[in-house]
Amino acid sequence: MLAPPGASFALFLRSFMSGVILQAINGISLAALLFLLASGFTLTFGLMRVVNMAYGAYYLLGGYIGYSVARRTGSFELAILCGGLTIVVLGFFVDRFLIRPIGHNHLAQVLLTVGVAFVIGEVCLAIWGGDNLRVAIPPWLRGGMELPGGLFYPKYRLALIVLGTSTAILLWLLYHKTHIGAVVRAGVDDREMVNATGINVDRLFALVSALASFLAGLAGVVGGAFLTLNPGAEWDILVLALVVVIVGGLGSLEGAILGSIIVGLLDAYGRWLLPEFSYFVLFGPMAVLLLFRATGIFGKEQ
Protein backbone atom coordinates (compact mmCIF):
# COMPACT_ATOMS: atom_id res chain seq x y z
CA MET A 1 0.00 0.00 0.00
CA LEU A 2 1.08 3.54 -0.54
CA ALA A 3 2.24 5.51 2.47
CA PRO A 4 0.42 8.79 3.02
CA PRO A 5 2.17 11.42 0.88
CA GLY A 6 2.94 13.57 3.89
CA ALA A 7 4.84 10.76 5.63
CA SER A 8 7.00 9.90 2.60
CA PHE A 9 7.80 13.56 2.13
CA ALA A 10 8.79 13.85 5.78
CA LEU A 11 11.05 10.81 5.32
CA PHE A 12 12.59 12.32 2.23
CA LEU A 13 13.11 15.61 3.99
CA ARG A 14 14.83 13.90 6.91
CA SER A 15 17.23 11.91 4.76
CA PHE A 16 17.85 15.01 2.64
CA MET A 17 18.61 17.12 5.71
CA SER A 18 21.02 14.54 7.12
CA GLY A 19 22.64 14.44 3.67
CA VAL A 20 23.01 18.22 3.78
CA ILE A 21 24.69 18.06 7.19
CA LEU A 22 26.87 15.09 6.25
CA GLN A 23 28.09 16.81 3.10
CA ALA A 24 28.77 19.98 5.06
CA ILE A 25 31.13 18.04 7.35
CA ASN A 26 32.66 16.27 4.34
CA GLY A 27 33.21 19.66 2.73
CA ILE A 28 34.80 21.15 5.83
CA SER A 29 37.14 18.18 6.24
CA LEU A 30 38.25 18.55 2.61
CA ALA A 31 38.62 22.28 3.26
CA ALA A 32 40.95 21.49 6.18
CA LEU A 33 43.16 19.41 3.90
CA LEU A 34 43.11 21.98 1.09
CA PHE A 35 44.06 24.71 3.51
CA LEU A 36 47.25 22.86 4.49
CA LEU A 37 48.35 22.86 0.84
CA ALA A 38 46.94 26.21 -0.26
CA SER A 39 48.33 28.19 2.68
CA GLY A 40 51.90 27.21 1.71
CA PHE A 41 51.28 28.06 -1.93
CA THR A 42 49.74 31.42 -1.16
CA LEU A 43 52.39 32.46 1.42
CA THR A 44 55.32 31.59 -0.84
CA PHE A 45 53.63 33.48 -3.64
CA GLY A 46 52.93 36.48 -1.45
CA LEU A 47 56.47 36.71 -0.16
CA MET A 48 58.64 35.44 -3.00
CA ARG A 49 56.36 35.93 -6.02
CA VAL A 50 56.97 32.27 -6.87
CA VAL A 51 54.30 30.16 -8.53
CA ASN A 52 55.23 26.64 -7.57
CA MET A 53 53.20 24.07 -9.49
CA ALA A 54 55.18 21.26 -7.85
CA TYR A 55 53.18 21.57 -4.60
CA GLY A 56 50.83 18.83 -5.81
CA ALA A 57 53.80 16.56 -6.39
CA TYR A 58 55.19 17.52 -2.96
CA TYR A 59 51.86 16.45 -1.50
CA LEU A 60 51.95 13.10 -3.33
CA LEU A 61 55.58 12.31 -2.49
CA GLY A 62 55.07 13.29 1.15
CA GLY A 63 52.02 11.03 1.25
CA TYR A 64 53.87 8.05 -0.27
CA ILE A 65 56.76 8.46 2.17
CA GLY A 66 54.28 8.65 5.03
CA TYR A 67 52.61 5.50 3.68
CA SER A 68 55.89 3.57 3.70
CA VAL A 69 56.95 4.87 7.12
CA ALA A 70 53.56 4.03 8.62
CA ARG A 71 53.79 0.52 7.17
CA ARG A 72 57.29 -0.11 8.55
CA THR A 73 56.93 1.48 11.97
CA GLY A 74 53.20 1.53 12.54
CA SER A 75 53.50 5.11 13.75
CA PHE A 76 51.29 7.73 12.12
CA GLU A 77 53.08 10.57 13.92
CA LEU A 78 56.44 9.42 12.59
CA ALA A 79 54.90 9.14 9.12
CA ILE A 80 53.80 12.80 9.29
CA LEU A 81 57.22 13.90 10.49
CA CYS A 82 59.14 11.95 7.81
CA GLY A 83 56.74 12.98 5.01
CA GLY A 84 56.98 16.63 6.02
CA LEU A 85 60.74 16.75 6.56
CA THR A 86 61.56 14.98 3.28
CA ILE A 87 59.62 17.66 1.43
CA VAL A 88 61.39 20.41 3.40
CA VAL A 89 64.74 19.08 2.13
CA LEU A 90 63.48 18.56 -1.42
CA GLY A 91 61.77 21.96 -1.47
CA PHE A 92 64.95 23.66 -0.32
CA PHE A 93 66.97 22.21 -3.22
CA VAL A 94 64.26 22.99 -5.79
CA ASP A 95 64.02 26.59 -4.53
CA ARG A 96 67.74 27.16 -4.27
CA PHE A 97 69.03 25.52 -7.46
CA LEU A 98 66.12 25.62 -9.90
CA ILE A 99 63.63 28.38 -9.06
CA ARG A 100 65.98 31.08 -7.81
CA PRO A 101 68.19 31.22 -10.94
CA ILE A 102 65.23 32.07 -13.19
CA GLY A 103 64.06 35.11 -11.22
CA HIS A 104 60.54 36.55 -11.23
CA ASN A 105 59.31 35.29 -14.59
CA HIS A 106 56.00 33.51 -13.85
CA LEU A 107 55.91 31.74 -17.19
CA ALA A 108 59.35 30.23 -16.59
CA GLN A 109 58.41 29.34 -13.00
CA VAL A 110 55.28 27.51 -14.11
CA LEU A 111 57.05 25.54 -16.83
CA LEU A 112 59.99 24.70 -14.60
CA THR A 113 57.91 23.55 -11.64
CA VAL A 114 55.56 21.58 -13.90
CA GLY A 115 58.72 19.83 -15.13
CA VAL A 116 59.76 19.17 -11.52
CA ALA A 117 56.28 17.80 -10.80
CA PHE A 118 56.48 15.47 -13.82
CA VAL A 119 59.84 14.11 -12.64
CA ILE A 120 58.63 13.62 -9.04
CA GLY A 121 55.43 11.97 -10.30
CA GLU A 122 57.38 9.46 -12.39
CA VAL A 123 59.79 8.71 -9.54
CA CYS A 124 56.76 7.99 -7.34
CA LEU A 125 55.31 5.76 -10.05
CA ALA A 126 58.60 3.85 -10.31
CA ILE A 127 58.83 3.31 -6.53
CA TRP A 128 55.23 2.89 -5.39
CA GLY A 129 53.55 1.69 -8.60
CA GLY A 130 50.19 2.66 -10.04
CA ASP A 131 47.84 1.17 -7.42
CA ASN A 132 45.67 3.23 -5.09
CA LEU A 133 47.43 3.32 -1.73
CA ARG A 134 46.12 4.56 1.58
CA VAL A 135 48.12 5.62 4.63
CA ALA A 136 47.14 3.50 7.66
CA ILE A 137 45.02 5.45 10.14
CA PRO A 138 46.21 5.17 13.79
CA PRO A 139 43.95 2.90 15.90
CA TRP A 140 42.65 5.69 18.12
CA LEU A 141 41.23 7.53 15.09
CA ARG A 142 39.57 4.52 13.43
CA GLY A 143 35.83 4.05 13.28
CA GLY A 144 33.08 6.57 13.74
CA MET A 145 31.64 8.60 16.51
CA GLU A 146 28.15 9.85 17.17
CA LEU A 147 27.54 13.52 16.60
CA PRO A 148 24.78 15.45 18.36
CA GLY A 149 21.62 14.70 16.38
CA GLY A 150 22.32 11.00 15.94
CA LEU A 151 24.64 11.15 12.90
CA PHE A 152 27.61 8.80 12.79
CA TYR A 153 30.75 10.26 11.33
CA PRO A 154 34.33 8.93 10.82
CA LYS A 155 36.58 10.08 13.66
CA TYR A 156 39.50 10.55 11.32
CA ARG A 157 37.78 13.25 9.29
CA LEU A 158 36.79 15.09 12.44
CA ALA A 159 40.44 14.96 13.53
CA LEU A 160 41.38 16.41 10.16
CA ILE A 161 39.04 19.33 10.77
CA VAL A 162 40.69 19.89 14.16
CA LEU A 163 44.15 19.75 12.55
CA GLY A 164 43.19 22.16 9.76
CA THR A 165 41.55 24.61 12.14
CA SER A 166 44.43 24.60 14.61
CA THR A 167 46.94 25.05 11.78
CA ALA A 168 44.93 28.00 10.49
CA ILE A 169 44.84 29.57 13.98
CA LEU A 170 48.57 28.98 14.53
CA LEU A 171 49.46 30.43 11.13
CA TRP A 172 47.20 33.40 11.73
CA LEU A 173 48.82 34.09 15.12
CA LEU A 174 52.30 33.61 13.64
CA TYR A 175 51.45 35.95 10.79
CA HIS A 176 49.70 38.69 12.73
CA LYS A 177 51.01 38.53 16.29
CA THR A 178 54.72 37.67 16.13
CA HIS A 179 57.82 39.55 15.09
CA ILE A 180 58.59 37.06 12.31
CA GLY A 181 55.04 37.45 11.02
CA ALA A 182 55.39 41.22 10.99
CA VAL A 183 58.58 40.94 8.94
CA VAL A 184 56.91 38.52 6.53
CA ARG A 185 53.95 40.88 6.12
CA ALA A 186 56.36 43.72 5.49
CA GLY A 187 58.15 41.53 2.95
CA VAL A 188 54.89 40.84 1.12
CA ASP A 189 54.25 44.58 0.83
CA ASP A 190 57.74 45.78 -0.04
CA ARG A 191 60.66 43.40 -0.25
CA GLU A 192 63.32 45.98 -1.11
CA MET A 193 62.43 48.10 1.87
CA VAL A 194 62.66 45.15 4.27
CA ASN A 195 66.02 44.25 2.79
CA ALA A 196 67.18 47.83 3.21
CA THR A 197 66.36 47.76 6.95
CA GLY A 198 69.02 45.11 7.38
CA ILE A 199 66.79 42.06 7.71
CA ASN A 200 68.14 38.98 5.98
CA VAL A 201 65.37 38.44 3.45
CA ASP A 202 67.01 35.31 2.03
CA ARG A 203 66.82 33.59 5.41
CA LEU A 204 63.22 34.72 5.79
CA PHE A 205 62.35 33.27 2.38
CA ALA A 206 64.03 29.99 3.26
CA LEU A 207 62.06 29.83 6.52
CA VAL A 208 58.66 30.47 4.92
CA SER A 209 59.49 28.11 2.10
CA ALA A 210 60.46 25.36 4.57
CA LEU A 211 57.19 25.86 6.46
CA ALA A 212 55.19 25.68 3.24
CA SER A 213 57.02 22.54 2.13
CA PHE A 214 56.44 20.90 5.51
CA LEU A 215 52.72 21.66 5.29
CA ALA A 216 52.56 20.18 1.77
CA GLY A 217 54.27 16.96 2.88
CA LEU A 218 52.09 16.79 5.98
CA ALA A 219 48.99 17.34 3.83
CA GLY A 220 50.07 14.38 1.70
CA VAL A 221 50.27 12.06 4.71
CA VAL A 222 47.00 13.09 6.34
CA GLY A 223 45.26 13.39 2.95
CA GLY A 224 46.63 10.00 1.88
CA ALA A 225 44.72 8.45 4.75
CA PHE A 226 41.29 9.51 3.50
CA LEU A 227 41.76 10.22 -0.20
CA THR A 228 43.93 7.69 -2.01
CA LEU A 229 47.49 8.15 -3.22
CA ASN A 230 47.84 7.31 -6.89
CA PRO A 231 49.48 8.67 -10.05
CA GLY A 232 47.56 11.78 -11.09
CA ALA A 233 46.41 12.59 -7.55
CA GLU A 234 49.02 15.36 -7.48
CA TRP A 235 47.21 17.31 -10.21
CA ASP A 236 43.72 16.73 -8.79
CA ILE A 237 44.72 18.17 -5.43
CA LEU A 238 46.83 20.95 -6.96
CA VAL A 239 43.93 22.23 -9.06
CA LEU A 240 41.67 22.33 -6.00
CA ALA A 241 44.35 24.18 -4.04
CA LEU A 242 44.80 26.62 -6.93
CA VAL A 243 41.08 27.36 -7.02
CA VAL A 244 41.32 28.03 -3.28
CA VAL A 245 44.04 30.62 -3.77
CA ILE A 246 42.41 32.16 -6.86
CA VAL A 247 39.08 32.58 -5.08
CA GLY A 248 40.65 33.75 -1.82
CA GLY A 249 43.23 36.00 -3.44
CA LEU A 250 46.88 35.14 -4.06
CA GLY A 251 49.16 35.89 -1.14
CA SER A 252 46.42 36.24 1.47
CA LEU A 253 46.20 33.90 4.48
CA GLU A 254 42.60 34.90 5.21
CA GLY A 255 41.83 34.27 1.55
CA ALA A 256 43.25 30.74 1.83
CA ILE A 257 41.02 30.05 4.85
CA LEU A 258 37.85 31.36 3.24
CA GLY A 259 38.73 29.87 -0.16
CA SER A 260 39.28 26.42 1.37
CA ILE A 261 35.87 26.45 3.00
CA ILE A 262 34.13 27.61 -0.20
CA VAL A 263 35.91 25.06 -2.39
CA GLY A 264 35.47 22.22 0.13
CA LEU A 265 31.72 22.84 0.41
CA LEU A 266 31.19 23.32 -3.34
CA ASP A 267 33.10 20.12 -4.05
CA ALA A 268 31.16 18.07 -1.48
CA TYR A 269 27.71 19.35 -2.55
CA GLY A 270 28.67 19.18 -6.22
CA ARG A 271 29.69 15.53 -5.99
CA TRP A 272 26.53 14.74 -4.08
CA LEU A 273 23.94 16.60 -6.15
CA LEU A 274 25.47 16.78 -9.64
CA PRO A 275 28.20 14.13 -9.82
CA GLU A 276 28.67 14.42 -13.59
CA PHE A 277 29.11 18.18 -13.47
CA SER A 278 30.87 18.57 -10.15
CA TYR A 279 33.70 20.44 -11.87
CA PHE A 280 31.18 22.95 -13.20
CA VAL A 281 29.79 23.47 -9.72
CA LEU A 282 33.32 24.09 -8.52
CA PHE A 283 34.64 26.31 -11.30
CA GLY A 284 31.48 28.09 -12.42
CA PRO A 285 31.20 30.32 -9.33
CA MET A 286 34.95 30.92 -9.51
CA ALA A 287 34.67 32.17 -13.08
CA VAL A 288 31.76 34.47 -12.21
CA LEU A 289 33.59 35.84 -9.17
CA LEU A 290 36.64 36.62 -11.30
CA LEU A 291 34.60 38.49 -13.87
CA PHE A 292 33.72 40.97 -11.14
CA ARG A 293 36.82 40.78 -9.00
CA ALA A 294 39.83 39.56 -10.95
CA THR A 295 42.15 39.27 -7.97
CA GLY A 296 39.95 37.09 -5.77
CA ILE A 297 38.21 38.05 -2.54
CA PHE A 298 41.21 39.22 -0.49
CA GLY A 299 43.73 39.71 -3.31
CA LYS A 300 45.55 42.97 -3.89
CA GLU A 301 46.07 44.55 -7.28
CA GLN A 302 49.55 43.78 -8.54
Binding site: F45, V51, H106, V239
Partner: protein, 312 residues
Protein backbone atom coordinates in the same frame (compact mmCIF):
# COMPACT_ATOMS: atom_id res chain seq x y z
CA UNK B 1 62.49 37.86 -49.63
CA UNK B 2 62.80 35.82 -52.85
CA UNK B 3 65.28 33.54 -51.08
CA UNK B 4 62.67 32.89 -48.38
CA UNK B 5 59.98 32.14 -50.96
CA UNK B 6 62.33 29.71 -52.73
CA UNK B 7 63.15 28.08 -49.41
CA UNK B 8 59.44 27.73 -48.66
CA UNK B 9 58.73 26.19 -52.06
CA UNK B 10 61.63 23.77 -51.61
CA UNK B 11 60.41 22.80 -48.14
CA UNK B 12 56.90 22.20 -49.50
CA UNK B 13 58.28 20.10 -52.36
CA UNK B 14 60.21 17.99 -49.85
CA UNK B 15 57.15 17.68 -47.61
CA UNK B 16 55.05 16.59 -50.59
CA UNK B 17 57.64 14.04 -51.69
CA UNK B 18 58.33 12.63 -48.21
CA UNK B 19 55.68 9.87 -48.13
CA UNK B 20 57.32 8.17 -51.14
CA UNK B 21 60.76 8.45 -49.50
CA UNK B 22 60.07 7.25 -45.95
CA UNK B 23 58.01 4.43 -44.45
CA UNK B 24 54.50 4.60 -43.00
CA UNK B 25 55.87 5.01 -39.47
CA UNK B 26 57.40 8.35 -40.36
CA UNK B 27 54.39 9.47 -42.38
CA UNK B 28 52.19 8.88 -39.33
CA UNK B 29 54.64 10.58 -37.01
CA UNK B 30 54.96 13.59 -39.33
CA UNK B 31 51.17 13.91 -39.46
CA UNK B 32 51.11 13.93 -35.67
CA UNK B 33 53.91 16.50 -35.57
CA UNK B 34 51.97 18.84 -37.88
CA UNK B 35 48.76 18.49 -35.84
CA UNK B 36 50.41 19.18 -32.49
CA UNK B 37 52.52 21.89 -34.12
CA UNK B 38 49.24 23.55 -35.08
CA UNK B 39 48.02 23.26 -31.47
CA UNK B 40 51.32 24.78 -30.29
CA UNK B 41 50.95 27.54 -32.90
CA UNK B 42 47.49 28.35 -31.54
CA UNK B 43 48.81 28.66 -27.99
CA UNK B 44 51.69 30.76 -29.31
CA UNK B 45 49.34 33.31 -30.89
CA UNK B 46 48.62 34.29 -27.28
CA UNK B 47 52.04 33.61 -25.79
CA UNK B 48 54.36 34.87 -28.51
CA UNK B 49 52.30 37.82 -29.73
CA UNK B 50 50.06 38.90 -26.84
CA UNK B 51 52.22 37.74 -23.93
CA UNK B 52 49.45 35.61 -22.41
CA UNK B 53 50.36 32.17 -21.12
CA UNK B 54 47.29 29.98 -21.59
CA UNK B 55 46.96 26.52 -20.07
CA UNK B 56 43.57 25.57 -21.50
CA UNK B 57 44.19 24.93 -25.18
CA UNK B 58 43.61 21.21 -24.79
CA UNK B 59 40.00 22.18 -23.98
CA UNK B 60 39.26 23.64 -27.44
CA UNK B 61 41.24 20.84 -29.05
CA UNK B 62 39.26 18.17 -27.18
CA UNK B 63 35.81 19.78 -27.48
CA UNK B 64 36.25 20.05 -31.25
CA UNK B 65 37.51 16.48 -31.46
CA UNK B 66 34.71 15.09 -29.26
CA UNK B 67 32.01 16.97 -31.16
CA UNK B 68 33.21 15.69 -34.51
CA UNK B 69 33.66 12.13 -33.22
CA UNK B 70 30.26 11.95 -31.50
CA UNK B 71 28.42 13.40 -34.51
CA UNK B 72 30.17 11.15 -36.99
CA UNK B 73 30.23 7.88 -35.03
CA UNK B 74 26.97 7.97 -33.06
CA UNK B 75 24.76 10.01 -35.35
CA UNK B 76 26.19 9.09 -38.74
CA UNK B 77 26.72 12.72 -39.70
CA UNK B 78 29.05 13.13 -42.70
CA UNK B 79 32.51 14.69 -42.44
CA UNK B 80 31.32 17.71 -44.42
CA UNK B 81 29.11 18.62 -41.46
CA UNK B 82 30.82 16.94 -38.51
CA UNK B 83 34.20 18.62 -39.05
CA UNK B 84 32.85 22.22 -39.26
CA UNK B 85 30.56 21.47 -36.31
CA UNK B 86 33.58 20.40 -34.27
CA UNK B 87 35.48 23.57 -35.17
CA UNK B 88 32.40 25.63 -34.33
CA UNK B 89 31.94 23.93 -30.94
CA UNK B 90 35.57 24.52 -29.94
CA UNK B 91 35.40 28.14 -31.08
CA UNK B 92 32.17 28.80 -29.18
CA UNK B 93 33.89 27.51 -26.06
CA UNK B 94 36.75 29.92 -26.69
CA UNK B 95 34.23 32.79 -26.78
CA UNK B 96 33.35 31.85 -23.19
CA UNK B 97 36.85 31.12 -21.90
CA UNK B 98 38.13 34.31 -23.55
CA UNK B 99 36.76 36.24 -20.57
CA UNK B 100 39.98 35.11 -18.89
CA UNK B 101 41.65 38.09 -20.68
CA UNK B 102 40.13 40.28 -17.97
CA UNK B 103 43.05 39.02 -15.86
CA UNK B 104 46.80 39.12 -16.37
CA UNK B 105 49.94 37.37 -15.23
CA UNK B 106 49.62 34.59 -12.67
CA UNK B 107 45.85 34.96 -12.49
CA UNK B 108 45.51 34.37 -16.22
CA UNK B 109 47.71 31.27 -16.02
CA UNK B 110 45.84 29.79 -13.08
CA UNK B 111 42.37 30.63 -14.40
CA UNK B 112 43.00 29.08 -17.80
CA UNK B 113 44.37 26.04 -16.00
CA UNK B 114 41.14 25.76 -14.02
CA UNK B 115 39.06 26.26 -17.20
CA UNK B 116 40.96 23.43 -18.83
CA UNK B 117 40.13 21.22 -15.88
CA UNK B 118 36.39 21.86 -16.27
CA UNK B 119 36.47 20.36 -19.75
CA UNK B 120 38.63 17.45 -18.66
CA UNK B 121 36.25 16.83 -15.75
CA UNK B 122 33.21 16.83 -18.05
CA UNK B 123 34.90 14.52 -20.58
CA UNK B 124 35.85 12.16 -17.78
CA UNK B 125 32.75 12.20 -15.58
CA UNK B 126 29.87 12.76 -18.03
CA UNK B 127 30.33 9.19 -19.19
CA UNK B 128 26.85 8.76 -20.70
CA UNK B 129 27.66 11.41 -23.29
CA UNK B 130 31.44 11.27 -23.74
CA UNK B 131 32.06 7.56 -23.12
CA UNK B 132 34.07 8.35 -19.97
CA UNK B 133 37.50 6.78 -19.81
CA UNK B 134 36.92 4.73 -22.96
CA UNK B 135 36.00 7.79 -24.99
CA UNK B 136 34.63 7.54 -28.52
CA UNK B 137 36.16 4.84 -30.72
CA UNK B 138 36.00 3.77 -34.37
CA UNK B 139 36.15 7.23 -35.90
CA UNK B 140 36.38 6.64 -39.69
CA UNK B 141 38.77 8.40 -42.05
CA UNK B 142 37.18 11.60 -43.35
CA UNK B 143 35.13 11.51 -46.53
CA UNK B 144 33.56 14.46 -48.29
CA UNK B 145 31.12 13.59 -51.07
CA UNK B 146 32.82 10.98 -53.24
CA UNK B 147 36.29 11.88 -51.97
CA UNK B 148 37.41 9.41 -49.34
CA UNK B 149 40.71 9.36 -47.49
CA UNK B 150 41.96 5.79 -47.84
CA UNK B 151 44.95 5.64 -45.52
CA UNK B 152 47.58 7.42 -43.44
CA UNK B 153 49.50 8.65 -46.50
CA UNK B 154 46.49 10.36 -48.03
CA UNK B 155 45.59 11.82 -44.65
CA UNK B 156 49.12 13.18 -44.39
CA UNK B 157 48.41 15.29 -47.47
CA UNK B 158 45.09 16.50 -46.05
CA UNK B 159 46.85 17.67 -42.90
CA UNK B 160 49.73 19.17 -44.88
CA UNK B 161 47.38 21.26 -47.04
CA UNK B 162 45.37 22.38 -43.99
CA UNK B 163 48.49 23.32 -42.04
CA UNK B 164 50.03 25.26 -44.95
CA UNK B 165 46.82 27.22 -45.52
CA UNK B 166 46.46 28.03 -41.83
CA UNK B 167 50.12 29.02 -41.56
CA UNK B 168 49.67 31.44 -44.49
CA UNK B 169 46.53 32.93 -42.93
CA UNK B 170 48.38 33.14 -39.61
CA UNK B 171 51.19 35.06 -41.28
CA UNK B 172 48.72 37.53 -42.74
CA UNK B 173 47.16 37.91 -39.29
CA UNK B 174 50.36 38.56 -37.37
CA UNK B 175 51.77 40.99 -39.93
CA UNK B 176 48.48 42.92 -40.03
CA UNK B 177 47.84 46.02 -37.90
CA UNK B 178 45.97 43.67 -35.55
CA UNK B 179 49.11 41.58 -35.03
CA UNK B 180 51.21 44.69 -34.51
CA UNK B 181 48.76 45.94 -31.91
CA UNK B 182 48.98 42.62 -30.08
CA UNK B 183 52.77 42.85 -29.92
CA UNK B 184 52.42 46.42 -28.79
CA UNK B 185 50.21 45.24 -25.92
CA UNK B 186 52.74 42.55 -25.11
CA UNK B 187 55.61 45.00 -24.79
CA UNK B 188 53.67 47.74 -23.01
CA UNK B 189 49.99 47.48 -22.24
CA UNK B 190 49.78 50.89 -20.57
CA UNK B 191 51.35 52.62 -23.58
CA UNK B 192 48.84 51.02 -25.97
CA UNK B 193 46.03 51.99 -23.63
CA UNK B 194 47.11 55.60 -23.50
CA UNK B 195 47.43 55.63 -27.30
CA UNK B 196 43.71 54.84 -27.36
CA UNK B 197 43.77 51.15 -28.30
CA UNK B 198 41.03 48.96 -26.91
CA UNK B 199 43.35 46.46 -25.26
CA UNK B 200 40.58 44.24 -23.87
CA UNK B 201 38.87 43.72 -27.24
CA UNK B 202 42.14 42.98 -29.02
CA UNK B 203 43.08 40.34 -26.46
CA UNK B 204 39.57 38.89 -26.55
CA UNK B 205 39.67 38.52 -30.35
CA UNK B 206 43.18 37.05 -30.21
CA UNK B 207 41.98 34.51 -27.64
CA UNK B 208 39.03 33.46 -29.82
CA UNK B 209 41.20 33.17 -32.95
CA UNK B 210 43.64 31.11 -30.96
CA UNK B 211 40.78 28.86 -29.85
CA UNK B 212 39.68 28.55 -33.49
CA UNK B 213 43.11 27.28 -34.55
CA UNK B 214 43.23 24.86 -31.60
CA UNK B 215 39.78 23.57 -32.63
CA UNK B 216 40.96 22.94 -36.20
CA UNK B 217 43.91 21.01 -34.75
CA UNK B 218 41.43 19.01 -32.63
CA UNK B 219 39.35 17.99 -35.67
CA UNK B 220 42.49 17.05 -37.61
CA UNK B 221 43.58 15.03 -34.57
CA UNK B 222 40.39 13.00 -34.18
CA UNK B 223 40.54 11.82 -37.81
CA UNK B 224 44.23 11.03 -37.34
CA UNK B 225 43.94 9.19 -34.03
CA UNK B 226 40.57 7.58 -34.95
CA UNK B 227 39.46 7.74 -31.33
CA UNK B 228 39.26 10.31 -28.57
CA UNK B 229 39.31 10.04 -24.77
CA UNK B 230 39.72 12.45 -21.83
CA UNK B 231 43.52 12.33 -22.12
CA UNK B 232 43.22 14.75 -25.08
CA UNK B 233 41.62 17.32 -22.74
CA UNK B 234 44.11 16.84 -19.92
CA UNK B 235 46.47 19.40 -18.46
CA UNK B 236 49.66 17.75 -19.84
CA UNK B 237 48.40 18.30 -23.42
CA UNK B 238 47.91 22.02 -22.77
CA UNK B 239 51.24 22.53 -21.07
CA UNK B 240 53.07 20.40 -23.62
CA UNK B 241 51.67 22.59 -26.42
CA UNK B 242 53.15 25.65 -24.71
CA UNK B 243 56.44 23.81 -24.18
CA UNK B 244 56.56 22.92 -27.90
CA UNK B 245 56.14 26.59 -28.81
CA UNK B 246 58.90 27.59 -26.40
CA UNK B 247 61.31 24.81 -27.39
CA UNK B 248 60.93 25.80 -31.05
CA UNK B 249 60.82 29.52 -30.40
CA UNK B 250 57.83 31.70 -29.55
CA UNK B 251 56.57 34.47 -31.79
CA UNK B 252 57.51 32.59 -34.96
CA UNK B 253 55.50 30.33 -37.27
CA UNK B 254 58.12 27.65 -37.80
CA UNK B 255 59.05 27.45 -34.10
CA UNK B 256 55.97 25.64 -32.77
CA UNK B 257 56.24 23.03 -35.53
CA UNK B 258 59.95 22.55 -34.86
CA UNK B 259 59.21 22.19 -31.14
CA UNK B 260 56.43 19.71 -31.86
CA UNK B 261 58.85 17.70 -34.00
CA UNK B 262 61.52 17.65 -31.32
CA UNK B 263 59.16 16.66 -28.50
CA UNK B 264 57.32 13.97 -30.46
CA UNK B 265 60.45 12.43 -31.98
CA UNK B 266 61.96 12.40 -28.50
CA UNK B 267 58.84 10.71 -27.12
CA UNK B 268 58.88 8.03 -29.79
CA UNK B 269 62.56 7.39 -29.31
CA UNK B 270 62.58 7.36 -25.51
CA UNK B 271 59.38 5.30 -25.18
CA UNK B 272 61.13 2.52 -27.09
CA UNK B 273 63.50 1.71 -24.24
CA UNK B 274 62.46 3.73 -21.18
CA UNK B 275 59.16 3.27 -19.41
CA UNK B 276 59.09 6.64 -17.66
CA UNK B 277 58.81 9.03 -20.58
CA UNK B 278 57.08 11.76 -18.57
CA UNK B 279 60.20 12.11 -16.39
CA UNK B 280 62.22 12.81 -19.55
CA UNK B 281 59.62 15.37 -20.61
CA UNK B 282 59.91 16.97 -17.18
CA UNK B 283 63.66 17.26 -17.64
CA UNK B 284 63.08 18.86 -21.06
CA UNK B 285 60.88 21.48 -19.33
CA UNK B 286 63.58 22.21 -16.75
CA UNK B 287 66.47 22.31 -19.22
CA UNK B 288 64.54 24.53 -21.66
CA UNK B 289 63.69 27.07 -18.97
CA UNK B 290 67.20 27.13 -17.51
CA UNK B 291 69.31 27.00 -20.67
CA UNK B 292 67.28 27.83 -23.79
CA UNK B 293 64.36 30.11 -22.87
CA UNK B 294 64.33 31.57 -26.40
CA UNK B 295 64.10 28.13 -28.03
CA UNK B 296 65.68 26.84 -31.22
CA UNK B 297 64.60 29.84 -33.29
CA UNK B 298 66.16 32.09 -30.65
CA UNK B 299 69.45 30.20 -30.94
CA UNK B 300 69.25 30.46 -34.75
CA UNK B 301 68.57 34.20 -34.57
CA UNK B 302 71.51 34.70 -32.20
CA UNK B 303 73.76 32.63 -34.48
CA UNK B 304 72.72 34.65 -37.54
CA UNK B 305 73.19 37.93 -35.68
CA UNK B 306 76.65 36.69 -34.66
CA UNK B 307 77.57 35.90 -38.26
CA UNK B 308 76.40 39.29 -39.40
CA UNK B 309 78.45 40.87 -36.65
CA UNK B 310 81.59 39.14 -37.91
CA UNK B 311 80.93 40.21 -41.50
CA UNK B 312 80.56 43.87 -40.58
Amino acid sequence: MTARVLLLVAALAIAAALPSLVGEFWVTLLTQIMIFGLLALSADLLLGHAGLFSLCHAAFFAVAAYTTAILQVRHGVSTALAAPAGILAGTILSFVFAFAVRTRGVYFILITLAFGYIIWGVAYRWASFTGGDNGVTNVPFPAIGGLRVAGPTQYYYVVLVAVVLIALAYRVLITSPFGLTLRGIKSSESRMRSLGYDVGSHLYVAFVLSGLIASIAGVLYVYYNRFINPVAASFPVSVEAVLMAIVGGTGTILGPFLGSGIILVLRNWVSGFFHYYTAVLGIVFIVTVLFAPQGIMGLVARWRAGNRGEGA
